[in-house]
């Protein structure tokens, strides 16, 4: 049986969809035929081409990555797929899906499943059910709609805590290396912290799961052999375990991989020795989460990180000639316009270039985050009470201190200082 996995994002260039890559590798290892399709802003794919693909490949199941920003396009794709073959089952997964309210799911007539648990296991469960001709039997980790259109939830599916049990999308050549400018690595999943705006800790229940370093190095070596030099580590906090990051960097140096790396971590998880080793191993850019430079605002967002620590981390990176990016947001609880300006001033004073990920953005309130669940407690006032139930508050809110006009003003201030007119690379 064939499974088609699609990631659509009309606002960004095509890049390797690492999550779909894992799912594809896992399903392939279980005997399914799998194709991945990435529909980025530079994808030369038309509806005619898409129809041709579906009619020739004949997937019995299509999985779509769902993000708030692309939800409209996901819905459109699902509708299109059903118009080509109404028997094809459609599942969505990803950040928008995991915690989507059931009444939101109920408003999506062309979507049959919403994945609530680990993507690999959940899709496998669905694929097996579809293959056996009972698409809605014996399911776990999903919500689905019964014949009356009523949403049914199933029990959770536990993912592997040892990530090595998932086959590698790189070592199984799931991706087309010929067009790969940069490899996205995910050496760990999850985050133990409690930042109120973030989906990841909630999705992974504040746990972190790891790949072994041997596996990571094997992948990197393979990717280098394929001619790809740049690596983007998507781990939320790659230096979560100090000994682990040391081992990884030592391995990169020992293997002589000559990689160029971007990675991100918390500012309180680095030290000078680590920075030196990062530099030697090929780290070009390190991103830290600052969020706000206001002492008033930081306690509100539960990040438990001091601004002094961020300053120190920036200095350490800059001392080793590693480029620094800072993730910041505005429209945070209790944040005034002046607080937002402090953040901008902080970034400038610390000689961090305002471009790429350092371009600030308004805080987005997504499903599953503490902010979304308790927005009233944070004095968040949603502005659009008619939004569809499958769309979260997102950016349509005001706070006690910041109206939409003020937030627009903050955005414009950042843009006027931006070296790339506010174009952000990753969210």
């Amino acid at each position: 049986m064939n499974v088609l996995l699609i990631e659509i994002n009309p606002f960004a260039p095509v890049s390797p969809p690492i999550s779909l890559g894992y799912i594809a590798a896992f399903l392939k290892s279980k005997g399914f035929g799998v194709k991945i399709l990435t529909l980025g802003e530079d994808a030369s794919v038309s509806p005619a081409g898409l129809k041709k693909l579906i009619t020739s490949f004949r997937p019995a199941l299509v999985g779509l990555s769902a993000y708030q920003r692309t939800m409209l396009y996901v819905i459109g794709l699902a509708k299109f797929i059903k118009s080509v073959d109404s028997e094809t089952k459609v599942a969505i997964g990803g950040p928008q899906a995991t915690f989507m309210p059931s009444d939101g799911f109920a408003q999506l007539p062309d979507i049959d499943y919403v994945s609530r648990s680990s993507g690999e296991q959940t899709l496998l469960c669905i694929a097996r059910a579809v293959e056996q001709g009972h698409p809605f039997s014996g399911l776990s980790g999903v919500s689905y709609k019964n014949d009356d259109g009523i949403v049914q939830d199933t029990e959770e599916l536990e993912g592997f805590s040892d990530l090595d049990q998932y086959p590698s999308p790189y070592l199984t050549d799931v991706f087309d290396y010929s067009r790969m400018g940069e490899a996205i690595m995910l050496t760990s999943r999850g985050c133990p912290h409690h930042c109120i705006y973030c989906y990841t800790p909630c999705a992974f229940k504040h746990k972190v799961m790891f790949h072994s370093i041997d596996r990571v190095l094997e992948e990197m070596t393979w990717i280098r052999k394929k001619g790809v030099k740049r690596f983007w580590f998507a781990d939320p906090n790659i230096s979560h375990k100090r000994s682990r990051i040391e081992e990884l960097l030592d391995g990169i140096l020992t293997h002589g991989l000559e990689a160029q790396m971007w990675l991100q971590t918390r500012a309180d998880l680095v030290n000078l020795e680590m920075m030196k080793k990062m530099k030697r191993a090929g780290v070009r850019t390190i991103a830290f989460g600052l969020e706000s430079a206001s002492e008033r605002v930081m306690p509100e967002i539960d990040k438990h990180l001091s601004i002094e620590k961020v300053v120190e981390a920036i200095r350490l990176a800059q001392s080793q000639d590693i480029e620094v990016e800072l993730f910041t947001m505005f429209g945070l609880p209790n944040e005034t316009f002046e607080d937002a300006m402090k953040t901008l001033a902080f970034v400038k004073e610390n000689n961090v270039k305002i471009m790429g990920n350092t371009n600030s953005q308004q805080m987005q309130i997504y499903f599953g985050t503490p902010m979304a669940r308790h927005y009233k407690d944070y004095h968040i006032r949603p502005l659009n009470t008619e939004r569809p139930a499958y769309i979260s508050i997102g950016c349509q809110y005001e706070t006690d201190h910041m109206s939409t006009d003020k937030m627009a003003k903050v955005q414009n201030m950042w843009r006027s200082h931006s070296l790339d007119r506010g174009r952000r690379i990753v969210s």
Binding site: L39, A43, L50, I391
Partner: protein, 517 residues
């Protein structure tokens, strides 16, 4: 998926009857199914009043398509001449035409708001002012359009470039397009728009993958409603190589198959890109654009230079220089110098090399080429200076031999035959099998009256190149001077067999024969 998805559709609107307009709408409706998920529709009309009814009719097809395909996005560009009139009249135009046009987007604006995204349908008026356009009224219109989220752009040509100097216009326009024409004729505008897209896309390829310049540019079609012809790219449009006539109701699958066939056919896309880039170089583009263009012109100049098409290479480098920031001009000056040198323009070559000196003076090949220009001009003393400097800088092996040969030749020209022998004998040590070393040494030794050595070297020269008549003639001269008349005659005769017109061989042979008699 074999068929390339269309990124752009251009429509040149003319007066059409109802049937023709419906035929156009049908083909567009079918073509949308073959466009990229985000695509652009450009509709060029003479003016607002004539074009808007057609645009609104076509727009119905756009909205139908977008309603049925929720993952698709279309930017609709309506290009027309600026309405004429004063500020109050502009207000009328806005209310009567543009605002009505905008109404169709309401459902998409709401959809965008609900999904916290930019609208899937964007209306983008592109206005071409004329020299008669009231600047204040135009500015008023641009401001009104912008506030209604009808993001306006300007199209300027030679008659209206000066308007780009108006900062208020520039601030209110989303973008300014430049065209090389002088009267904003519709076909010319479409070509300019296509070309500008090609320039930007080519620039992106230069950054990411220069080898891909040979590939076709992003898929687009041009439809001319005056005759119904549909063209697969702007180059085909200019050459009038159409795919089909839309008024014959071609089936879109067959049309796209023909399109694929056209793309697969032998076309020189790189040459087209080159021409397009060159055509933009005279336009008064803003700084960022000129820099981009300069890089492209340099790239294409280098391709021409590598193909030894030095005339075109020089043209491209000259254009590149005009647009390049001074601090980046070094490489352009150097390569321009090379092309000048290769086309006999030695003085210009030296001037260009002079401007590249700061960047290249530590490179041996810089001094070599400078020396070569002097050599070609007959300034052998200066040439020796250049060649000697190059020699002192440890040149690569193949260049070392060339430098030594040139040095030997310069010395010969200046009468310093002993020094010539020193250089050429060294060249012989470095690379034995080069004919020029031997025949030049033959000359040097002849001048030094060392006929045995001259003959020894010339014999090698003719072994290496048995067809070299002049070297046989030189052998003849050396045998003659040595008193070996029979051998001299034989050599001259051999030279004349190879080249009956070789005057020096014929004259010397006659003299020898007369003397013998």
């Amino acid at each position: 998926m074999h068929t390339r998805a269309l990124q752009r559709i251009y429509v040149i609107l003319d007066k059409q009857d109802r049937e023709q307009l419906e035929a156009l709408c049908r083909i567009l409706s079918d073509l949308f199914f073959y466009t990229e998920l985000t695509s652009n529709l450009y509709m060029v009309a003479e003016d607002l009043a004539e074009g808007m009814p057609q645009v609104e009719r076509i727009q119905k097809q756009v909205t139908s398509f977008l309603r049925a395909n929720l993952f698709a996005r279309i930017y609709v560009h309506f290009i027309h001449s600026a309405p004429q009139g004063n500020t109050e009249e502009m207000d009328f135009y806005f209310q009567y035409y543009y605002q009505n046009w905008k109404r169709v987007t309401m459902e998409f604006d709401r959809e965008a708001y609900m999904h916290q995204e930019v609208p899937r349908l964007m209306l983008l008026p592109l206005i071409a002012p004329s020299s008669h356009t009231n600047p204040a009224a135009l500015m008023e219109l641009l401001g009104t359009l912008k506030s209604a989220f009808l993001l306006p752009s300007l199209y300027l040509d030679w008659g209206t470039f000066h308007q780009a100097a108006n900062e208020e216009h520039v601030a209110k326009a989303e973008k300014i397009y430049y065209g090389p024409g002088n009267n904003s004729e519709k076909s010319e505008i479409v070509c300019s728009l296509c070309h500008e897209n090609i320039v930007h896309e080519t620039s992106a390829r230069l950054d990411s993958n220069p080898a891909s310049m040979m590939e076709a540019c992003p898929a687009a079609v041009i439809i001319s409603t005056s005759d119904g012809m549909i063209y697969p790219c702007v180059d085909a449009f200019v050459r009038k190589e159409s795919l089909a006539n839309i008024y014959d109701a071609p089936h879109v699958d067959a049309l796209m198959a023909q399109y694929d066939g056209y793309l697969a056919s032998q076309r020189d896309c790189q040459a087209c890109r080159d021409r397009v880039v060159a055509s933009f170089s005279d336009l008064p583009l803003p700084k960022g654009a000129t820099h981009e263009l300069s890089d492209l012109l340099y790239h294409f100049g280098t391709l021409h230079q590598e193909a030894e098409n030095h005339v075109l290479a020089a043209e491209r480098y000259e254009k590149s220089l005009k647009l390049s920031p001074a601090e980046e001009a070094g490489p352009i000056h150097f390569r321009l110098g090379l092309s000048y040198a290769n086309t006999g323009r030695y003085d210009q070559g030296l001037e260009s090399f002079g401007k590249a000196k700061a960047m290249y003076q530590d490179q041996y090949y810089f001094h070599f080429y400078t020396g070569l220009c002097h050599f070609q001009k007959g300034d052998y003393g200066l040439a020796i200076g250049g060649f000697s400097k190059a020699l002192d800088m440890d040149p690569q092996q193949e260049d070392l031999v060339r430098i030594l040969i040139y040095l030997g030749t310069c010395c010969n020209s200046l009468g310093d035959y002993e020094q010539a022998v020193v250089q050429l004998e060294r060249a012989k040590q470095e690379a034995g099998q080069v004919k020029e070393i031997y025949n030049t040494l033959g000359f040097s030794y002849f001048q030094l009256e060392n006929y045995d050595k001259a003959i020894e070297n010339l014999k090698v020269a003719v072994e290496l190149d048995p067809s070299s008549a002049i070297d046989y003639a030189s052998l003849g001269a050396n045998y003659r001077e040595r008193g070996d008349t029979d051998m001299a005659v034989a050599m001259y005769e051999r030279a004349l067999e190879l080249d009956p017109g070789l005057a020096v061989a014929r004259e010397n042979l006659e003299r020898l024969r007369d003397h013998h008699v």
